[in-house]
């Protein structure tokens, strides 16, 4: 049996009187691709933020990669994010005045030390070997997202989080990005947690959970 990468028990997150995530028990084995679906405000991003160490739970236990995130200090959480997690956002969040290569190297810099050859190789892996010197504004949405993927995987994370990574992309670009993620996952063997509205995108995962008003209402295995 695979070791659980993510283990939650009664995980809760409230913002004042609003309970964004009601007690959730969840276990994600190492290497699994978990899709999280739900309507706006259902708690998907809240769950992802908690799992990625971007936010702290109000109550409950949250263990990711053997570390109890609720006990970590701010520095500890930063170290956890730096060394354990890669994140792909819907809005890309690339630095607009840096080239694609520099955006990837920036991630290396905050992790350890920059290595241009390695960053170049990462961009080549996502099919952007010819766009190294281009700034985000000079790239299409799909290309920007591929830069984000290169940036997310450059530090060899054990856990890759995607918050609507294909939300802004057309169908063709979506397929390209998902195919790329699938290939990279097969090579790097990281665990994926992907938040999406799109049933088709969710179907790329091994399992899908459905959230409604912060409650895990359903889960189904999409692939055996």
């Amino acid at each position: 049996m695979a070791v659980a990468t993510i283990e939650t028990s009664g995980l809760t997150r409230s913002y004042g009187e609003i309970c964004a995530l009601k007690p959730i028990d969840l276990s994600v084995p190492e290497g699994e691709w978990l899709s999280v679906m739900g309507h706006s405000g259902s708690g998907k991003s809240t769950l992802m933020n908690l799992v990625g160490g971007l936010d702290r739970p109000t109550a409950g236990a949250l263990v990711v990669g053997g570390q109890d995130l609720s006990t970590l200090t701010e520095d500890g959480l930063a170290r956890f994010r730096r060394e354990y997690v890669g994140i792909i956002f819907q809005q890309h969040h690339l630095v607009p005045y840096l080239s694609a290569l520099e955006n990837v190297m920036l991630s290396q810099y905050f992790h350890s030390v920059p290595d241009e050859a390695e960053a170049r190789h990462a961009l080549e892996r996502v099919g952007l070997g010819h766009r190294l010197k281009n700034r985000p504004g000079e790239l299409s949405g799909g290309e920007q997202q591929r830069v984000c993927i290169a940036r997310a995987i450059i530090n060899s994370p054990k856990l890759l989080l995607g918050d609507e990574p294909t939300g802004n992309l057309d169908h063709k670009s979506t397929l390209m990005v998902m195919e790329l993620l699938k290939e990279l996952r097969a090579e790097e063997r990281f665990t994926v947690v992907m938040v999406t509205h799109n049933e088709e995108v969710a179907a790329w995962g091994d399992r899908t959970i459905y959230l409604t008003d912060g409650v895990l209402v359903r889960e189904e295995r999409t692939r055996s």
Partner: protein, 443 residues
Amino acid sequence: MIALKLVPHLVAFFGMATVALRGATRRGMLAGTALAGFLVGTGFAVVSTGSVSGQFSFSLVRALLALSFLLFCAVSFTALYQSLGGSLPVGWLERLSSRPVSRSCALFLASAAAGAVAGCRLGPAVPSWVWGALAAAAAVLVLAAVLLESRLPAGLSTSRAGYLALTVAFLLFSASWSTRLDLFAPLTMKVMKFTHDFVHQFFESMLIPDHLFIHSYLWGYIGLLFGKEVGFWGGLIIWFTPVVMVFLAIGLERLPSVAHLRQGAQRRRVLAEAIRTRRMRLVLPGLALVLLASAVYRSLYPSVEYWDPKPVPVTANAGGEIFLPRKGEIDLMDGKLHKYVFERGGKTARFFVLLTPSGKLTVDLDACAICKPDGYGQAEGTVLCYYCKTLIPLETVGKPGGCNPVPVPFTEQDDGIHLSGVTLINTWSGTVQSTTRTTEKGK
């Protein structure tokens, strides 16, 4: 006042103890060792300045400090050589120095040296309450060092050379607060003397061409070597070279091989950790650099107030004799330096009268035979040559040689001192004036 006097020495001791405890396993034992060393050193210095000749204690402590500086030079050179890939047969020494007992011994000696510097500053007549206060302050500081060390960043790693750099820098910083223990001023003097001797020997060996046409130009350049600046800059280079070598040694340390690591992120993480550790190891030598710089500043601008009275003009009687009453407007027996100036035939001579610790009066020129006649000031049981900053113990004033004031023949009678004006002028002209002429020509 005494407490204020001891502050820099206690600060230096505190710093040394804190650094020594870094990464140590038996901190309690080390802290006790540091305290014992400091008290033993202080006790030794206080007792020896009182019982043996005061000059002996100062010379001994200064020799110890010089020895520690030489050791630092050797270790920094070795560290740099090894960083550059060289290998030296010092493995046994490294093994020996890494033993806990070696660490304790080193700390004891360093603390004893720090204590001896403080003891020399205290002097022989120390009230018992000062002893108690000093011991209590040292104990409190050792405890504070233990507490501070435990709160220092975990990543603040040290290297042997870095530790030695900071320890020696603390000692030299502490010593710089006493003009008689300061090492920088004598170092500049040695450099100056070496340069003078070297040029002289070079000239003697006929290696400098003495042609009529280039003669004056050449001497113009050679004159630069006889300036005070040569000693200062030369001393500065020697003073900072070892710590700069430690910087280089740490900076040039090879990063670990990561070729065996498959994952790029893991390779980078190992390299980043090595770079971070290397950077942290520069902290101690950096602090040592600051301390050494402040020791130079203390040496150049000591807070000691030198007794330097304005020379009183004196005249000779019809027989050409100068008379200075033993007790008059000026009390020659008060142990202070009393300066006079005598003029005859367009020539001027400055001289002083001083009661030495042996109870005898001495009359000397306010100049020596080797330096520019900038004169002398008196403080802390010494007179200081303003030109080369040499400290001359009061016991040796009246004896000729080196940078000692040039003695002037005189006769001492019940009523006062009698000396010949002609002899005085001739002595000045024969020794001091020649130096001045050379310098003026160099200008």
